[in-house]
């Protein structure tokens, strides 16, 4: 966030030097060129992100099928919230939140191991980060083969004498969501690991050495030194992981379960897609769309404020 914070005062001072002469032709040219240079990004973001979010907010209060819309008012929201299917959808999102501590704790622990001056750490980092490059569609196809009744997981159980256990996870609502969550944790592992490794590189090695001299064991160092010093990075991964869970799992769910069985794996983002493009209810999709937007925006703004407070 240094773009918004630390460097600004100095920059303002230097550039402000030319301010007192508004008639300065160079300054006028700077402002003119500056305005023209920002037009493309304003046009693109304005027409394809900001205008549609405005429309979403407006249409969240309407009944809309894509062509004609009728104003209904805030009752669209109470209707949606009292819809039992939607309650299930929110439950599923709450379940996804439960996966986040795991998606943070695992890479944090491994980052701690790798960072302890380990030979070959770059090699492990490259391998663990590999899933980041692969699409959710491909991850979903392989994941289905893993969790399917005749899949890899069942083979593993058969080969270890546990063949009497038949999890068949994709066939029941709760376990299908757990399968999605496990796949999610697997693919987030590398991303969060990279962030923690970057964070650990900012910690002064002398602090560790001092702790060792004082006789602190590895676990004590992790809990008493590393985790507190990485607080900012842990919070950042929390935000990234949460926003990914809420807004980037559509393709994985589409390929793995199609939102089923029943509403078992229909999360908020998947619900929006289904309402709009299967049920043709653009109004309801907009109402749910606003809820998703508010959730993401609230988390992001909270993150920004916490950063400010720390500085």
């Amino acid at each position: 966030m240094d773009a918004l914070g630390a460097e600004r005062p100095a920059a303002t001072r230097r550039r402000g030097a030319r301010r007192p002469r508004p008639s300065d032709p160079l300054a006028a040219s700077r402002r003119r060129v500056g305005f023209v240079f920002t037009l493309p990004v304003i046009g693109l973001v304005g027409s394809l992100l900001l205008l549609p979010i405005g429309q979403t907010i407006y249409h969240s209060f309407t009944s809309w099928d894509g062509t004609s819309s009728r104003w209904v008012g805030a009752s669209t929201y109470s209707h949606l919230v009292h819809n039992p299917e939607f309650t299930r959808v929110l439950e599923n999102n709450a379940m996804l939140v439960l996966a986040i501590p795991v998606a943070i704790a695992l890479p944090l622990g491994v980052a701690f191991l790798i960072h302890a001056g380990l030979r070959g750490w770059r090699f492990f980092r490259s391998i663990f980060f590999l899933p980041t490059a692969v699409s959710w569609v491909v991850i979903g196809f392989v994941s289905v083969r893993f969790f399917a009744d005749d899949g890899i997981l069942q083979h593993l159980l058969n080969n270890t004498g546990l063949g009497f256990v038949h999890p068949n996870m994709l066939s029941q609502e709760r376990s299908a969501l757990v399968a999605v969550m496990i796949t999610f944790v697997w693919s987030m592992f590398g991303t969060n690991l990279i962030i923690f490794l970057a964070g650990m590189a900012t910690i002064d090695q002398e602090i560790y050495d001092a702790a060792r001299v004082d006789g602190a064991g590895s676990f004590a160092v992790l809990v008493k030194i590393t985790i507190p010093l990485l607080r900012r990075f842990i919070r950042f991964t929390f935000i990234v992981t949460l926003i990914t869970a809420f807004t980037a799992l559509f393709s994985l769910i589409f390929v793995m379960t199609g939102g089923g069985p029943g509403y078992g794996t229909t999360t908020l983002e998947f619900f929006i897609y289904e309402q709009a493009f299967s049920a043709g209810d653009f109004g309801l999709a907009s109402t749910a769309g606003v809820m998703l937007f508010v959730a993401v925006a609230a988390v992001s703004v909270l993150q920004l404020r916490l950063l400010r407070v720390e500085e």
Partner: protein
């Protein structure tokens, strides 16, 4: 303390060290297997016939033959390439010009506009799919690659502009002033000085967006529905159900669709990592 005792204690410490190192490497080896096994599974089964898949051994190219015969994979890979390259070009065009203006050329209200552009990062695609679809349909942009390119560019623009602005702010003011004294205008300063200096940031954005756009499903699914324009992810995700049980064919399709992004990742890893950690570094 006798010399022997000290020696024994040193041996003890060394032994403990070796055991802990061994355990760490063991843990990392287990995680390596967990992370790589899906890729191994994909790679092995992509080169099996259906019979060989059920038997669990043997190799053949039958799945590849089936894949290219029954699905327009070549066409879809071409579409993915055109869409990805087009979106990256557009993102780079708007984020370098915008970043330069927000960082260096600042005009009244430019800071407010910058904040609004950055705030657009918080808009999830899923929240706007309904109006976005209707707007693009009204313009006749559905099932045209440029429609999807525009949407991808808009989705990638806020973060890329943030990254470019941060980068350009780090370039010393003296560099720009010297060029101005030499008689260059602000436009030529951008093309002759700022762009060449920004190559690392440009590569970072290109790599991040390559993986983002190449791997995406949702935008293609909504805006590119006909086989002649759809990207490979859409082709795979909407594969006709008679092929869904043909695991070797699915794995061959997955492998070929994953390969370009994996290669880009392996070659440009450094830039990807720097882009990811850019958001938090102070």
């Amino acid at each position: 303390m006798s010399a022997l005792g000290l020696h024994e204690r040193l041996g003890d410490v060394r032994w403990k060290y070796l055991v802990s190192r061994g355990l760490i490497y063991l843990a990392l080896a287990v995680i390596t297997v967990v992370m790589l096994y899906p890729f191994y599974y994909m790679g092995v089964n992509a080169f099996r016939s259906l019979d060989q898949y059920y038997a669990g051994h043997g190799f053949s190219l039958a799945s590849w033959h089936n894949l290219f015969k029954s699905l327009p994979v070549g066409r879809e890979l071409l579409n993915s390439t055109l869409i990805t390259v087009g979106a990256i070009a557009l993102i780079l065009a708007v984020s370098t010009t915008g970043g330069y203006a927000f960082a260096v050329l600042r005009y009244p209200a430019s800071r407010l506009i910058f904040l609004i552009v950055i705030a657009a990062m918080m808009v999830p695609m899923q929240s706007i799919i309904a109006p976005e679809y209707v707007n693009l349909a009204n313009l006749g942009f559905i099932n045209h690659r440029y429609g999807a390119i525009l949407v991808y560019a808009a989705l990638g623009a806020p973060f890329s502009t943030f990254l470019m602005t941060t980068y350009f702010r780090r370039i010393p003011e003296e560099v720009i002033e010297a060029a101005l004294i030499d008689g260059l205008g602000y436009g030529r300063v951008f093309f002759l000085i700022m762009l060449p200096l920004a190559v690392p940031a440009i590569v970072t954005i290109a790599v991040l967006q390559f993986i983002q756009v190449w791997d995406d499903l949702l935008v293609g699914l909504l805006f590119l529905q006909t086989p002649d324009v759809r990207p490979i992810t859409v082709g795979l995700a909407t594969i006709p159900s008679q092929h869904l049980l043909d695991v070797p064919l699915l794995m061959a399709g997955s492998l070929i669709s994953a390969l370009p992004a994996v290669i880009v990742y392996l070659v440009f890893q450094r830039y990807l990592i720097s882009g990811l950690t850019m958001g938090i570094s102070k």
